[in-house]
């Protein structure tokens, strides 16, 4: 039995197989409509989430399975003080596979150690969010043909953004990837990503604090939200915030085939005027998240 805790749990070959399957699901959804008939997905969400939980539920329903679960700690027995280890033992009797989101880092791993069913980490605090990374990789591969020889700009909160860290970790396994890290000084990628991941593997990267200066170089722009509360003082926030807002004017500086991704939700970092630009792929990305989760459920349930 296999679980998914980190995007690195899969080898590159396994990831390719997973994405091949997601591709086939995307192209022939009818062939998969009953694959999970009689199977149940438990969505154990100890903190609120809209997209991830609904994306999992949509994936299972599209496979002909059913779903059960809870969407906040208050509505689960965690409110009575039940441990994650006990909860998963119970859930193992009710469902065939579990997607778990928890505010405490490592909680899904603890669950997987006691579980009798596959556990998928659907986000654990600021630690990992592997299905978002799988979504990002699948979107890039689907829209670009392959993940190779790309200049990828990561913009916004690179310090606290777990999706950015996971994505960098996953992308360094592909050839010819260049990183342009666009953020204010205060929100640069943590030292361990810079030293242990990028420099250790001899990766080509640069750190800049203006989006305009690098727009023309990018094949992919991965936007994240810059949160006001991350700044030490409001002055810095006001001075810097507009540098990281994507507007139609900035899109004029970009390549014709550049694509914009965002893990969502967005607040104001991408102007709504950009949504109609054919290069804005973040809603497509969310749609592709369902296909890759379908492929993941099938793989972990060993139904392929």
């Amino acid at each position: 039995m296999r679980h998914l805790m980190s995007p690195l749990d899969f080898t590159r070959e396994e990831l390719e197989q997973l994405m091949d399957l997601a591709d086939d699901i995307k192209n022939h959804p009818d062939n998969y409509a009953d694959k999970c008939h009689g199977k149940k997905l438990a969505t154990c969400f100890y903190e609120p989430s809209t997209r991830t939980r609904l994306s999992f539920e949509s994936a299972m329903l599209s496979l002909g399975g059913s779903v059960l679960g809870f969407s906040s700690a208050d509505s689960s027995s965690a409110a009575k003080g039940e441990s994650v280890s006990d909860t998963i033992r119970i859930i193992s009797s009710y469902a065939d596979i579990c997607a778990m989101r928890h505010p405490k880092e490592g909680a899904p791993l603890v669950a997987s150690q006691r579980s009798l069913i596959p556990v998928i980490n659907a986000g654990d605090g600021g630690h990992q969010h592997p299905t978002q990374t799988l979504t990002d990789l699948f979107t890039i591969r689907s829209l670009r043909g392959e993940i190779k020889d790309l200049t990828i700009g990561l913009c916004g909160d690179l310090k606290f953004g777990r999706t950015v860290h996971s994505l960098i970790n996953a992308l360094v396994r592909y050839p010819g990837i260049k990183f342009v890290l666009i953020s204010p000084e205060e929100l640069r990628v943590p030292e361990y990503i810079r030293e242990d991941v990028l420099e250790k593997n001899g990766y080509d990267y640069k750190e800049v604090d203006s989006l305009d200066d690098v727009m023309g170089e990018l094949d992919i722009l991965y936007m994240t939200r810059v949160q006001k509360e991350r700044f030490f003082n409001e002055e810095d926030y006001i001075r810097l915030k507009d540098f990281f807002i994507l507007t139609p004017e900035k899109m004029h500086l970009a390549k014709k085939d550049m694509m914009v991704l965002h893990p969502l939700p967005r607040v104001n970092e991408i102007s709504v005027d950009v949504d109609d630009d054919p290069r804005a792929m973040y809603f497509t990305q969310a749609k592709y998240g369902v296909f890759i989760r379908m492929a993941l459920i099938l793989t972990l349930l060993e139904l392929v």
Partner: protein, 145 residues
């Protein structure tokens, strides 16, 4: 120096940093060795090499003590294994791949801070730089040993 008689079977842990022997006593769980075992701790002994040092002598069956954790606490400790009143091995200490219930995770967002009965486990992720990370949240251990 105080003299403590030799041991028939067990260990002599020498060159322990002065004042550290009690920590080692606790981390090796020497209090739970069993009623047939004897432990002697010599603290603050004179040492040509170190100025002052601690020594622990443990009289017990040698399979009863797991010495792996010593490599994490201080790999400069000399570990002599005694059988039939003679030193049969000077064990080279190395960093253990995993440390269980010796140090705890300081990350307040880690599940190990709230989940009952959960073992505190750290994994050696970078032997060259002696980096241990929490098994659950991957936070680097930065506290003192």
């Amino acid at each position: 120096m105080l003299n403590i008689s030799g041991i028939h079977q067990g260990f002599v842990l020498d060159h322990i940093k002065a004042g550290e022997s009690m920590t080692i006593y606790n981390n090796l769980h020497l209090a739970n060795l069993g009623s047939d075992c004897t432990v002697a701790m010599i603290m603050n002994a004179k040492s040509n090499k170190m100025g002052r040092k601690d020594i622990i002598k443990i009289e017990c069956p040698i399979e009863r003590v797991d010495l792996d954790i010593l490599g994490f606490i201080d790999h400069n400790i000399t570990c002599n294994i005694i059988k039939d009143d003679a030193i049969v091995e000077k064990r080279q200490l190395s960093l253990p791949k995993e440390i269980k219930n010796v140090i705890s995770c300081k990350n307040p967002r880690c599940i190990s801070t709230v989940e009952q009965e959960l073992d505190q486990i750290f994994i050696l992720t970078d032997p060259e730089n002696e980096v241990y990370r929490c098994k659950y949240c991957e936070e680097k251990y930065t506290g003192s040993k």
